[in-house]
Amino acid sequence: MRKVSIEIPETLYRRLEALAGRIGADSVYELVVDLLREGVSRLEEDLDAGHELSEEEVSRIRERLRSLGYLD
């Protein structure tokens, strides 16, 4: 397995440490990997579901941007 170092805020690390103890995770490392898996899946689902902007909304925005001269 490839290992990488990621910098996170100290406050967050302290919360992870406390949480790992409470839920019986072996380590902060294990908890972080679990959380990342969950988070990544949720993000992927969000993208697939097109939560950001619908095509209709993008068309409306493009129209306004053109009318204001921001787009040719």
């Binding site: 967050l12 969000d46 950001e52 902007l53 925005i61 493009r62 941007l65 204001l68 921001y70 787009l71």
Partner: protein, 382 residues
């Protein structure tokens, strides 16, 4: 790829037009609260997602977290409390669970779902946010004049008030589409409250050298006597952009926002706002969002080291000046010459020249920009 919204998702809390009509028809039964200019602008910024992930005004848990840790309770960086204050009389008129109609200038501007009404410590608030309780500090003065209670709860913005700048305003959704349409993957944002001088131009162009696009985002709103009027700032920038910037490399749109003058904390807040507009980089200069001598010259840059997880890259600049030794614009970091060869750009001097109808020296401001400013009968706020 432009920045992800702060907290992952761009908030939209704008009341749909069909619901707006129903609400306004039935609004006679709702309790009402008058809000001031600062809260009104915060409401708009929550509504359009400029303050993502906030969906309303902070409750007591979030306020405490922001004051003590400069983060929301979920650990996301957030440095400026976004709060709605009320006095004792208003407190008696609303209750938990109420939907309240927010009024500004006699017009309905939003709905607030009341989740909590709580007292707070103004001295602590001022000390944490402004690092001072000196009432001469404009941010402290405002906090001290606020009502004794805060209301926490989600909001829906009603875009009713017109200020004449609608065509200059783009929402974060719109800037994100625009940046994508232009093919920009990296965008540097510049916040301004002033007409552009050569120092601003060199900071912007230096930053633009390394990214795809420049997003100039003037703050429109409450001004004090002697400041440049908003329309003057916009016209001056249009002249600069049209005559001196590569075509298609700049987007200018306004943001309505009431400055807090909280120096370092506010620099982080400004960066978060621009991240939500889609910017990947943010310019931080000398004494950003400062006032008087309350903050160190570069304190607003140093604070960024506490936020490695901000999600937008700050670009730090030293003060630019004209150096006769260099024969052009330079700054403290790269200029080897003595101070007496430098012409520092003074906003006060520029303002004095222009108020007498005189074009400032070419080492401070471009003639074309100055002439645009002087084309106004009175470029200053009375």
């Amino acid at each position: 790829m432009v920045s992800r919204p702060h907290g992952g998702r761009l908030v939209k809390r704008v009341l749909p037009r069909d619901r707006m009509e129903d609400i306004l028809r039935d609004s006679r039964g709702l309790p009402q609260l008058d809000v001031d200019d600062t809260i009104y602008r915060d409401l708009e910024n929550i509504g359009y997602g400029v303050y993502s992930p906030l969906t309303g005004f902070l409750d007591s848990v979030e306020l405490e977290s922001v004051l003590y840790t400069m983060r929301l309770s979920n650990d996301l960086p957030w440095t400026i409390p976004i709060v709605l204050d009320i006095d004792e009389e208003a407190r008696r008129s609303i209750g938990i669970g109420d939907t309240v109609l927010l009024m500004y200038g006699g017009q309905p501007v939003g709905l607030l779902m009341v989740e909590e009404v709580y007292r707070y410590d103004k001295g602590l608030y001022a000390e944490k946010v402004f690092k001072t309780t000196d009432p001469a500090h404009p941010g402290v003065a405002r906090v001290m004049s606020m009502g004794d209670y805060l209301v926490g709860g989600s909001v829906e913005y009603i875009p009713m008030v017109r200020d004449g700048y609608e065509d200059y305003f783009l929402t974060p959704r719109e800037t994100r589409v625009l940046f994508r349409e232009r093919g920009w993957e990296t965008v540097v944002a510049f916040q301004t409250r002033n007409v552009p001088h050569l120092g601003h131009e060199y900071v912007q162009k230096t930053a633009l050298t390394f990214v795809d696009g420049l997003f100039i985002n003037p703050v429109i709103g409450r001004k004090k006597r002697g400041d440049f009027r908003d329309e003057v700032i916009l016209e001056a920038y249009k002249t600069l952009i049209n005559r001196f910037y590569p075509r298609g490399s700049v987007v200018m749109s306004i943001v309505r926002y009431a400055m807090r003058y909280a120096g370092p904390r506010e620099a982080i807040h400004h960066a978060i706002m621009r991240k939500n507009f889609g910017a990947t980089h943010f310019i931080v200069g000398r004494d950003h969002a400062g006032v008087g001598n309350y903050y160190g010259r570069y304190e607003a840059q140093e604070i960024f080291s506490e936020f490695p997880d901000l999600g937008i890259t700050p670009l730090f600049f030293r003060e630019f000046f004209y150096c006769r030794g260099c024969g052009g614009m330079s700054n403290e970091k790269i200029c080897p010459h003595d101070r007496d060869l430098r012409i520092y750009i003074s906003g006060t001097k520029i303002r004095e020249s222009l108020s007498r109808g005189i074009v400032p020296p070419g080492e401070m401001m471009r003639r074309e920009v100055a002439e645009t400013i002087l084309s106004f009968d009175n470029p200053f706020v009375d």
